[in-house]
């Protein structure tokens, strides 16, 4: 498929019955949507499900896409909503059990190849603390952090996706970074105590 074709043209093609067009949109955006979902949810299996649901929802609502916003912003909004819905559902369920499982998954993720066991354990502790710190942020702060750190979107792009003013994006990110610093310090100390204990 021609890479010079814009996402908006791809949507038009998909609407006119081209079966390959929506597949191309998925190929272009699945990695970034997965990164966003992973940052928001902190678990690979949840992130995969949310990514899949995002594209399914987009496909179902393709006719509802008016072209007023970019396809990327539209997909991000759907993805953020999917993640928030998933988190609400998971809160209703037993969160402790899921957290335990998530920690196991995190351990699988961060099993490095070429580092010593001590360094690997330290790295695992640090990543676990970061995951917990990001996961404990309020959704409006978390999504800004994830879009910035995981997707490397510009402030303007985040503003477009979330449909909030640019200054709001910056102030949310500033607040999020301050909270993360505090939480990392707190979780880091707790983990250190656990590790030593």
């Amino acid at each position: 498929m021609d890479t010079a074709t814009t996402d908006e043209q791809m949507v038009e093609r998909a609407l006119s019955g081209d079966p390959e067009a929506f597949g191309e949109i998925v190929r272009r955006w699945e990695r970034r949507i997965f990164a966003l979902a992973f940052g928001m949810l902190g678990r690979e299996d949840d992130a995969r499900d949310a990514t899949q649901e995002t594209f399914l929802a987009a496909f179902r609502n393709l006719r509802g896409f008016r072209g007023e916003a970019k396809v990327s912003s539209w997909l991000h909004r759907i993805a953020v909503n999917q993640c928030i819905t998933r988190q609400r559902r998971s809160k209703v369920r037993n969160e402790t059990a899921l957290d335990d499982e998530a920690e196991k998954n995190a351990a699988v993720f961060i099993s490095p190849v070429d580092v010593s066991p001590a360094r690997a354990a330290e790295s695992r502790q640090q990543s676990l603390a970061v995951r917990r710190a990001v996961g404990s942020l309020p959704p409006d702060l978390r999504q800004v952090v994830v879009m910035k750190e995981f997707e490397e979107l510009t402030f303007q792009e985040i503003s477009d996706v979330l449909d909030v003013p640019l200054s709001t994006v910056k102030s949310r990110l500033y607040t999020a970074l301050r909270q993360l610093h505090m939480r990392l310090h707190k979780f880091g100390s707790e983990d250190l105590k656990t590790f030593e204990g």
């Binding site: 603390a129 909270q179 990392l184």
Partner: protein, 236 residues
């Protein structure tokens, strides 16, 4: 958390964020860098946020790989480049990088890479084997020796002289033994004598010369393999 809320906030907090992520204009970045030299709070927060950023990037790289989702925005100012975040690239071994490449590549790309590697190895082996093979020899034994025309003629003439001598001796023996046809013997003797007097030998047809040459192993059996073309007339 209350502790965080109680911490003072500089009025340029938003500028700090823009500066950190390299999204301030060159003028704004320079201006904020000057401000940071005076503002201890901004300096402290910059260091804290940098640590947070690096921790999040480590987690992201471990979970998603160190490949950037999108290229980081370029640094906009020399001053800012001293402070702003640089995209973190973890140092990894070539083996780990290769493993990640194969893990992330689609099946066709893995297959194509493997095929290209095998092809390259085969070509390298072929080139090495060619280097070690001795050059082929044009003629490896005497049977394939190519004679010159002079050598050929000399050998044929020698053989003709030998046969003539043999035949002459045989004829003499026959005439002495039988002597039943004196007229024919006398005629043959006359012919031989006259030929000997003229220094001539019996003429051979081209076919006979060719057969003779083949018998002497001077030429290959087939005409197209001859080292030169026979003339219709025998040489005198």
């Amino acid at each position: 958390m209350n502790q965080m809320k109680q911490r003072p906030v500089c009025h340029r907090a938003e500028d700090l964020v823009s500066y950190l992520y390299g999204e301030a204009s060159p003028t704004d970045a320079r201006d904020f860098a000057e401000h940071m030299e005076q503002c201890e709070l901004c300096r402290t927060e910059f260091a804290s946020f940098r640590h947070v950023h690096e921790s999040v990037v480590v987690w992201r790289n471990q979970a998603l790989g160190s490949v950037s989702i999108r290229p980081a925005s370029p640094m906009k100012d020399e001053v800012a480049s001293n402070y702003q975040f640089a995209p973190r690239q973890e140092k990894r071994s070539a083996r780990a990088a290769l493993r990640e490449f194969f893990a992330r590549s689609p099946l066709w790309l893995r297959g194509a890479t493997a095929f290209a590697t095998l092809l390259l190895l085969a070509l390298a082996l072929f080139a090495v084997s060619r280097m070690w093979t001795p050059a082929p020899q044009v003629a490896t034994n005497n049977s394939e020796k190519i004679f010159t025309k002079a050598e050929f003629d000399k050998a044929v003439n020698n053989e003709v002289a030998r046969i003539n001598a043999l035949e002459g001796a045989q004829n003499q023996a026959n005439s002495n033994a039988t002597n039943k046809s004196p007229i024919r013997t006398v005629a043959l003797q006359k012919t031989a004598r006259s030929q000997a007097a003229r220094g001539l030998r019996p003429r051979l047809t081209p076919q006979e010369r060719e057969q003779l040459a083949a018998d002497l192993r001077l030429i290959p059996g087939r005409e197209e393999d001859l080292p030169f073309v026979f003339s219709d007339e025998p040489e005198q």
